[in-house]
């Protein structure tokens, strides 16, 4: 696990993804600073207003960062034939895959934490009179991570299969594009990978529905993890 971080040292992975997260976090603040009177005039929960106004673009930045991260994590193995060297080590390719996923998930969690902090700051600064319950905020942030994880896992499986950086990048971007133009609504379709990160209403669902959504996301996680591990077996045959 530590090795995985070390390998990323000179790729710009951490600063790059951190920049993306900072950009996403700056987004609601800039939007509020420019058009604060429009948004503060709206009724309803400040958090819901902020999410409605900004989350689509923030989620898109998160997705782009995930695509990029997944591409780079395996690109460093393919460039310079490091993959063959890894395959000769007493190390399962599946373990490598799961470790890389852990790296991506940690960066994803850090980005979401940063973005939630920014949303909270915006709530406090511009909607001072209307307090946001901390529990709701935590629940929202807590839901965004499981919404993002299946997509990241799928992307990583994809990039482990593609030798060329640009093929996995292209497929990832096309999938994001599809998620933005296809009308994916409803309790099941909206939780598909690439569509789920755009969803904002999960935290306000009743606990039964919330549990069902979490189960669905968890099931996706298990299926994609199995598929990703299977990809590692196939890749060695190719």
């Amino acid at each position: 696990m530590i090795l995985e971080w070390k390998k990323l040292a000179r790729t710009g992975f951490v600063p790059g993804l951190l920049c993306a997260a900072l950009l996403a976090a700056a987004f609601p603040a800039v939007n509020m600073a420019v058009r604060s009177d429009v948004y503060t005039a709206l009724d309803g929960s400040p958090l819901a207003i902020l999410l409605d106004a900004n989350w689509q673009l923030m989620a898109m930045l998160n997705l782009f960062a995930s695509v990029l991260g997944a591409c780079i994590l395996y690109h460093i193995e393919y460039a310079g034939g490091a993959m063959q060297k890894m395959d000769t080590l007493p190390l399962r390719p599946g373990t490598l895959f799961l470790r890389k996923f852990a790296v991506l998930a940690i960066v994803g969690a850090a980005s979401i934490l940063l973005e939630t902090a920014s949303l909270w700051g915006c709530c406090l600064y511009w909607f001072g009179g209307r307090p946001v319950p901390a529990a709701l905020l935590l629940r929202t942030a807590g839901m965004f991570l499981p919404q993002l994880l299946p997509t990241q896992l799928l992307l990583l499986a994809l990039s482990s299969l593609c030798r060329n950086l640009w093929v996995s990048l292209g497929i990832g971007v096309i999938l994001i594009f599809m998620a933005t133009i296809l009308p994916l609504r409803g309790p099941v379709l909206s939780l598909l990978p690439f569509a789920a990160p755009f969803e904002t209403g999960l935290a306000s669902l009743s606990s039964g529905e919330l549990l069902r959504s979490l189960c669905l996301l968890g099931a996706q996680l298990i299926v994609f993890a199995a598929a990703g591990l299977a990809c590692q077996k196939i890749r060695r045959c190719m």
């Binding site: 790729t11 710009g12 992975f13 790059g16 993804l17 920049c19 993306a20 950009l23 939007n31 673009l57 898109m60 930045l61 782009f64 960062a65 695509v67 990029l68 591409c71 780079i72 690109h75 460039a79 060329n164 950086l165 640009w166 093929v167 990048l169 292209g170 497929i171 971007v173 096309i174 994001i176 594009f177 599809m178 933005t180 133009i181 296809l182 009308p183």
Partner: protein, 256 residues
């Protein structure tokens, strides 16, 4: 070697790169929901626009704001990555050719790939409009004389952006930052278009063009005239600056 031959060499390098399926996939996929939901084109939500124009504009808009800049970013990565494996860059620079010429040849290929995709976009539009017309029993087909100028405008307005992304790929050697900056620049274009300084931000140009064309066909949506004055000089300056810098700096890490 003359310039055309250089471009030919660059195109040959792209064999076996899964290029065509990746360029064609978004173009084909984006029309599927449009065809399936073609009846929604009749429901214009109070906006005065004919169904066939609605079908055309809505379809193109999804493509223009996200997929065109993304295609350009992906193609710059492709052009750059073909040189990374096997130290192709060093070999290229050791040829008795000026690096500026090589850089321009690669940029030309980038624009050719983009033109190819725009061609596919028009073909896919006519195919899907034909299918939608059959399904809905209403002609969604627009004359070629109307579709081609808009496509050409979108193509031309994307050239400054292509030059900018090419400069980014030349200057920034770490792929994380060049791709990241490219992809991140797409996201705020929707916001930039609503500010007074949109003409300083090339990724928003094609979106501006499609919005003006939308405004011409539906009253009161957006401007109906191109604000050519601050735009053309700014776009020309950005393009010239980007191309010039890209030519000067092509392969600078390998030349040190």
């Amino acid at each position: 070697m003359n310039f055309l031959k250089l471009v030919g060499v660059e195109i040959r390098k792209l064999r076996r790169s899964f290029l065509l399926p990746l360029l064609a996939a978004p173009v084909i996929l984006m029309w599927i929901p449009s065809v399936l939901n073609a009846q929604n084109s009749f429901d214009t939500g109070g906006i005065r626009i004919s169904p066939e124009h609605n079908f055309f504009i809505q379809g193109f808009m999804g493509m223009v704001w996200l997929m065109i800049p993304a295609t350009l970013v992906i193609c710059t990565v492709l052009l750059h990555q073909t040189e990374v494996s096997g130290r192709g860059m060093v070999k290229m620079l050791s040829l008795p050719l000026s690096p500026a010429k090589l850089s321009l040849a690669k940029c030309t290929v980038l624009i050719l790939l983009f033109a190819l995709q725009m061609g596919m976009l028009v073909a896919a539009y006519y195919l899907s409009a034909l299918i939608a017309s059959q399904l809905q029993d209403y002609s969604f087909l627009l004359p070629l004389g109307e579709v081609l100028p808009i496509t050409a405008e979108i193509f031309l307005s994307s050239l400054p952006m292509a030059a900018l992304y090419w400069l980014l790929a030349v200057l920034v050697q770490t792929p994380v930052f060049s791709i990241g900056a490219g992809l991140a620049s797409i996201v705020p274009s929707v916001l930039m278009i609503n500010t007074r300084f949109w003409f300083l931000y090339p990724p928003s140009y094609p979106f501006y063009v499609i919005m003006v064309e939308y405004g011409r066909r539906a009253e009161g949506i957006y401007d109906t005239q191109f604000a050519l004055f601050p735009w053309l000089p700014a776009a020309a300056a950005i393009t010239a600056l980007s191309l010039g810098l890209a030519c000067l700096k092509f392969g600078y890490t390998e030349r040190r």
